[in-house]
């Protein structure tokens, strides 16, 4: 008996597919991340803002406080703008260099410029200290060379070193974003321009740069956001004289305990970051590469003319100097004894030593921790693994949803970036005051650390998965479905192979971010379970050769692990995919 008879076909209503109403479906992928963000970000933030900004607290604000707020805001903008400018000055030529030329050691240099981004501020501060500080290599070298009695260069504690550290951190963003756009430019456009009579300079100015302008803008905004919210660099390298918004929030909340002012400053910072982040989203979404992405390699050529060779040589000197020197100073300082141990007044045995590494396994009774420092490494690894699992579980659905930009995506996207901009201090304090009462009484739980890390890692995970998920053309899925595959099978057969690499890359991303996170951790971590950056900061804050050396040793270990992580990410990157 045939099921398909004419009556059934001609008459009767046609059923609408699906059990759920159509407006729930787009919301589902955002559910996990929204609950997480709501509970662990927005709620604590609201609590602390209320604590600071309720009417009775607001009355205590006076003219001095407002002046201080304006002063902080002004300085924050100033140093961020200056840093961004300098970063572009170094980063744009470097982007051109990487996108256009092929030379020996290129991938090494690429990784080198990317490492700082992943390093915690403590490590960077230690590195610059080891290079430029009063006991640093440069000063020691100069003192030795010219027989000086005191350190000639006092960069640490000046605005210059802050700017330098910012450039060190963020150049890779410019190189990646602009370099990516450059290498995906259709080379035929430039060739057409040349046949029309444009010399190389005019091609650059009239064609290349305008065409990559969206990426330059995006990179600038991103770098500006990072410089705007910079905390560790200002605090550790700038010393007590410099105070940006975030540093001021820290001081007001943690030292002076003026919560209303801290709350006000947090609010200002949040609004600024939200504004920038919306700007960034707009630029990115509006300028998704529409032309057929050409393989990046077709744009590369070896250097030929003298001018090109000079450019290459100059850039190599600058980049190596800026990136290699601080990174090399660190491990060198970890194996060299240059100053006396704390309180030890005997003659110093200058020279190479692995003492600082072996000390990591010993827990002296006078130590500031009650665990051997080496345990910090284990703690960090554990936290990092947890962060990876959490951020992937929450971020993956969000990335899938964002892969097809819709109205919901455009609305929620900037909110995703928000945890990056909120003051880590505010977050930490918010955690402490929110989760100290049942049913949410786990303020003393060490699990707060990976939760904080996940908040920070998730935007990066989403950003790194998104382009890969977006690159899967629907046609592939449709073809598979028409061949009889269920939606699960379609996913495994079509999506997963393309996405697997990006997922691994995102996982490594989250891992390295968690390993290196300092700001939020410093407020939320329990002393018995220190993370590696916390341990480094603690040892750095205790002068004396042994403490400094151990800090250097741990910082070197952290640097190596992060470097490996970045190498892995580089290898796994889909050619051309991923924003950074």
């Amino acid at each position: 008996m045939s099921r398909f008879n004419g009556d059934a076909c001609a008459g009767g209503p046609t059923s609408v597919g699906g059990l759920r109403p159509s407006w729930i479906r787009p919301l589902l992928p955002w559910l996990g991340a929204s609950v997480f963000l709501g509970l662990f970000f927005f709620y604590p933030l609201a609590r602390i803002l209320w604590l600071g900004l309720n009417p009775s607290a607001l009355i205590t604000l006076n003219l001095d406080s407002l002046l201080l707020a304006v002063h902080s805001l002004g300085f924050t903008f100033y140093q961020a703008a200056l840093s961004t400018l300098l970063t572009l000055v170094i980063g744009l030529p470097a982007a051109v260099l990487f996108a256009r030329n092929d030379f020996r050691g290129k991938s090494f240099l690429r990784v080198l410029t990317a490492i700082p981004f992943m390093l915690p501020t403590v490590v960077v501060a230690a590195g610059f200290n080891a290079l430029l500080g009063p006991n640093g290599w440069v000063n020691l070298g100069l003192m030795d060379l010219f027989h000086l009695s005191s350190a000639p260069i006092s960069m640490v504690g000046s605005l210059g070193v802050i700017l330098l550290a910012h450039v060190f951190y963020n150049t890779t963003i410019v190189i990646r974003l602009v370099g990516n756009a450059l290498s995906h430019l259709d080379p035929r456009l430039e060739q057409a321009a040349r046949t029309l009579g444009a010399n190389p300079q005019r091609v650059l100015g009239l064609l290349t740069l305008p065409l990559v302008r969206p990426s330059i803008l995006a990179a600038s905004v991103l770098v500006f956001i990072f410089d705007f919210t910079s905390f560790g660099v200002i605090l550790l390298l700038g010393g007590p004289g410099f105070s940006t918004l975030e540093v001021e929030i820290y001081k007001q909340a943690v030292q002076i305990f003026n919560l209303p002012l801290a709350g006000l400053l947090s609010l200002i910072q949040l609004l600024c970051t939200l504004a920038f982040s919306i700007l960034y989203s707009r630029i990115v979404i509006r300028n998704v590469v529409t032309s057929a992405p050409r393989p990046a390699e077709s744009n590369l050529h070896k250097v030929r003319s003298v001018r090109q060779k000079l450019f290459l040589a100059g850039m190599l000197v600058v980049l190596m100097g800026l990136f290699l020197l601080p990174l090399v100073s660190l491990p060198l300082a970890s194996v060299t004894r240059l100053q006396a141990d704390l309180g030890v007044r005997g003659p110093v045995q200058y020279g190479l030593t692995i003492n600082y590494y072996t000390e990591l396994f010993i827990n002296r009774s006078t130590s500031i921790f009650y665990v051997p420092p080496f345990k910090a490494i284990g703690n960090s690894l554990g936290y990092a693994l947890l962060t990876v699992v959490l951020s992937l579980a929450l971020g993956f659905p969000v990335a899938s949803a964002l892969a097809r930009p819709g109205r919901l995506g455009r609305l929620l996207d900037p909110l995703l970036m928000l945890p990056l901009g909120a003051s880590a201090v505010t977050l930490g304090l918010g955690f402490i005051i929110t989760f100290n009462r049942p049913p949410l009484a786990f303020v003393t739980s060490p699990l707060l650390v990976p939760l904080a890390h996940t908040l920070i890692a998730m935007p990066f995970v989403v950003r790194s998965l998104q382009p890969s998920l977006a690159s899967i053309p629907d046609r592939l899925r449709q073809a598979a479905a028409s061949l009889g595959a269920s939606s699960q099978r379609v996913w495994f057969a079509v999506d997963w192979p393309i996405v697997a690499r990006a997922t691994l890359s995102a996982a490594v991303f989250a891992f390295t971010i968690s390993l290196g996170e300092f700001g939020a951790s410093s407020l939320v971590v329990r002393p018995e379970y220190p993370t590696l950056p916390i341990a480094i900061a603690r040892f750095l804050s205790q002068p004396g050769g042994l403490n400094y050396g151990q800090a250097m040793a741990m910082a070197t270990i952290l640097m190596v692990v992060c470097g490996l992580g970045i190498l892995l990410i580089e290898r796994l990157r889909l050619p051309g995919a991923g924003e950074f």
């Binding site: 456009l189 060739q191 040349r194 046949t195 029309l196 009579g197 010399n199 005019r202 009239l206 065409l211």
Partner: protein
Amino acid sequence: MLELVDIHKGYEGKPLLNGVSARVAAGETVCLLGPSGSGKSTLLRIIAGLETPEQGRVCWDGVDLAPIPVHRRSFGLVFQDYALFPHMDVARNVAFGLKMQKLAGAEIDLRVADALAMVNLSDFGSRRITDLSGGEQQRVALARALAPHPRLLMLDEPLGALDRNLRAQLMSELRRILHASGVPAIYVTHDQEEAFTLADRVLLLHDGKIVLSGKPERVWSDPGSVWAAQFLDAGNVVEGTIISIKPPYRVETPVGIFELGRDVVPVPVRDEVVPSPGKVGQAHSKGEKVNVLISRRGVLQGAQGNVSGVVVDVIFRQDGFKVTLANGLDFYLPDAPKVGEKINLIIPQAAIKCLS
């Protein structure tokens, strides 16, 4: 006048261009015809200066262009995918070359208007590139290349991305524009219809060399080599044996015995770039194997003829029927015979050529 002398260029270690020599005279449109991957685009890029040859020279009016960079050669180039500047509108695209020549603003506007008029896009000046259709983009690309009055225009498969009707329409427009502007042009394509429509002269590129050069009708009717005949699909290629070297020359083939005309010359030669194997009967001996090209058209059906066979397939073509015989030959006939019918065909002497 452009002259290419013995251009050699490899690609990924393998040879691509193996000694290409050619000339393009003033006002001439030359079509470079060849299969995909034969190096046509590379040759254009070498002429433009975007690539350097491993061996050989590119000369203009006798001057070697090697030291002259791309932006000073004044050679226009139209790409297959147009390569229009996406961040500029139509007028500014077309004006780009003029801007590079540092002309005055008013002069530029005038020239842009002229160029757009020439390609029938007069009102399109303020349109954005992304709003244009394929055909419109191609015409803008052409206008842009012509506006600065280049000494030479090169077109790299410009109609490749368009559909059939548009292609036909643009072909005739291109023909008109190229003749109107008088600029010498090199047109690169793998499509012989385009080549024959537009060219004053056709160059056939094979194995990195120019193997055939001449007017379209000569090239078509007398391809000269088996490869060329097959690439152009100029007719039926049959292997045969020479049975008489005294006039009338006669060749015996599996499908019949053919008499060749007295004036049959294996390959028409021009530019001395292609070897001339010599006339039939002079260098050949009796019993030697040769290849014969039998044209598909101009044959008559009759009661008896020099070729006969059983019809195995009849396909309708817009201007006739393509009839395939059991012996593998096909011909175009005005009327359709029935499949299975045995027919006789009279092949005139003019329809038979010798191939090297």
